[in-house]
């Protein structure tokens, strides 16, 4: 809940404020602004096309069947747009894969999925309760679809419920543009005239694009390993947490992602006086500036992670062992724990918030593994923030 709130709330508030500000401003745009919007729109469509190519390459990986499924889905959804068509197509793609797997007698997922999926483990929910949840979800989804198609004047609240529940039902991964949510939401709710808002949203998310994979891995680590690591959660949740200094990632943090964050601050400084000087743009720019002002402290949240430490041969060896390991995290008390580790483990759970000065290089590498997700998550080691209660974690296995 905390991850979802911190991950989505800033974007929601910023886009709402920008939308309110731009609503009156975009009704009668100036000719030059129409030209700029058309150029920005062309750039945005080009980037969507690039994302589609990249997603197709990643999801299909040259497999003829998967490429055919993707092409068929694109053809059908381009020809007609129905509210029930998107889930039906996605489900049909899954069923075709199941049938082909049964025919070929091999699992296609083993070819197309990476290591991350192989590390996903079961939740502790019993099978009966899980089946009940699935049946309940399917029943509500079908009822929502039927009601939305049959009732002519859907009340506003129920319409919102219908849109959100259908969108949420089709999310089964975390990709750029949320591929199975973006098309129906776009066709239903947005339209070409609001393309400028879409581009602003895209521009604000640029700083997260390069680190998306890392953030997704952190999230999957949080949910699959059920590690109550406040560090990993907040790192995956904060909008620009990926540019914060992490152990062993100084080279990555010097990429354009950090520069784009600095550029956003510069734009804020530039836009705020302009919002008073340029009258027609004032409402739009003022709202944008205020929304940025609200969340700039969050963007540069002084999160006291452990200081940067160079990787040693020992930590590299440890990480390589972690990658090859598929065992569950070990939380049993160590017979002879490292005294420094005991000190860190006995720190209260808010230890990551109080500074990382007590971290050793070994702890830093463990924290990195904890934050970077599944590949290095076989044997989960942590600082005090990752530990459960006062039980000291086992260092090495």
């Amino acid at each position: 809940m905390l991850t979802g709130l911190l991950f989505q709330l800033p974007g929601l508030v910023i886009m709402t404020l920008v939308g309110v500000g731009a609503a009156s401003f975009l009704k009668t745009p100036a000719p030059w602004l129409r030209g700029a919007t058309a150029g920005l729109g062309a750039a945005g469509v080009a980037l969507v096309a690039a994302s589609a190519f990249a997603l197709t390459r990643g999801a299909c990986r040259g497999d003829g069947l998967l490429l055919s499924l993707s092409a068929a889905s694109a053809v059908v959804t381009f020809y007609t747009v129905k509210i029930w068509l998107f889930p039906v197509l996605i489900l049909a793609g899954g069923l075709v894969t199941l049938a082909v797997n049964a025919y070929r007698r091999k699992d296609m997922a083993a070819k197309t999925s990476g290591d991350d999926e192989a590390h996903v483990e079961r939740f502790s929910l019993p099978r009966a309760a899980g089946a009940l949840v699935v049946v309940l979800w399917a029943a509500v989804l079908v009822a929502t679809l039927v009601a939305a198609s049959k009732v002519p004047d859907f009340p506003m609240g129920l319409d919102l419920w219908s849109a959100m529940f259908r969108a949420g039902s089709m999310i089964f991964g975390g990709e750029f543009f949320s591929p199975n949510v973006f098309p129906p939401m776009f066709f239903r709710l947005v339209g070409a005239e609001a393309f400028f808002s879409f581009l602003i949203s895209f521009f604000l998310r640029l700083s997260k694009k390069k680190k998306k994979k890392q953030a997704v891995r952190s999230s999957s680590l949080y949910f699959t390993k059920t590690s109550s690591s406040a560090t990993a959660t907040l790192r995956s949740a904060l909008p620009n947490a990926s540019i914060l200094p992490t152990p062993g990632s100084r080279a990555r943090t010097s990429t354009w992602a950090s520069r784009s964050c600095k550029a956003s601050r510069f734009l804020f400084i530039l836009f705020f006086p302009l919002s008073f000087a340029v009258r027609p743009l004032s409402s739009f720019l003022l709202s944008l500036s205020l929304s940025l002002l609200l969340f700039l402290p969050l963007f540069s949240f002084p999160f006291p992670f452990p200081p940067f430490q160079k990787k040693t041969k020992q930590t590299r060896f440890q990480l390589s062992r972690d990658r090859s390991s598929t065992s569950l995290p070990t939380w049993a008390p160590s017979p002879a724990p490292d005294p420094r580790a005991r000190t860190a483990a006995s720190t209260p759970s808010s230890a990551p918030f109080s500074g990382g000065s007590a971290s050793t290089p070994r702890e830093s590498s463990s924290s990195t593994a904890c934050c970077r997700g599944g590949r290095a998550s076989g044997t989960f080691r942590s600082t005090g923030g990752c530990s459960r209660g006062s039980t000291p974690p086992r260092w090495g296995s």
């Binding site: 049909a92 793609g93 894969t97 098309p183 895209f202 784009s260």
Partner: protein
């Protein structure tokens, strides 16, 4: 089952990209120049690896240039 689900979902993105391009061309004051700008941005981001923010801003600047030059 998951590869098929993902492939079908990616098809929706492809369809959305084509629909976006068509609707944007129809709404643009200079349709041909808009398509050209889109292709140029695609090329510079995919081939030349130009940073995406710069490409987006360049698209906006090219749009203003196209409006000032009276392109079609």
């Amino acid at each position: 089952m998951l590869p098929g689900l993902n492939a079908a979902a990616v098809g929706l993105v492809t369809s959305a990209a084509i629909s976006l391009a068509i609707s944007l061309r129809a709404a643009s004051p200079f349709p041909n120049a808009t398509v050209s700008i889109g292709m140029a941005v695609f090329a510079v981001t995919e081939v030349l690896k130009v940073p995406v923010p710069l490409a987006v801003l360049g698209g906006g600047v090219l749009g203003v240039v196209a409006w000032a030059a009276g392109m079609n």
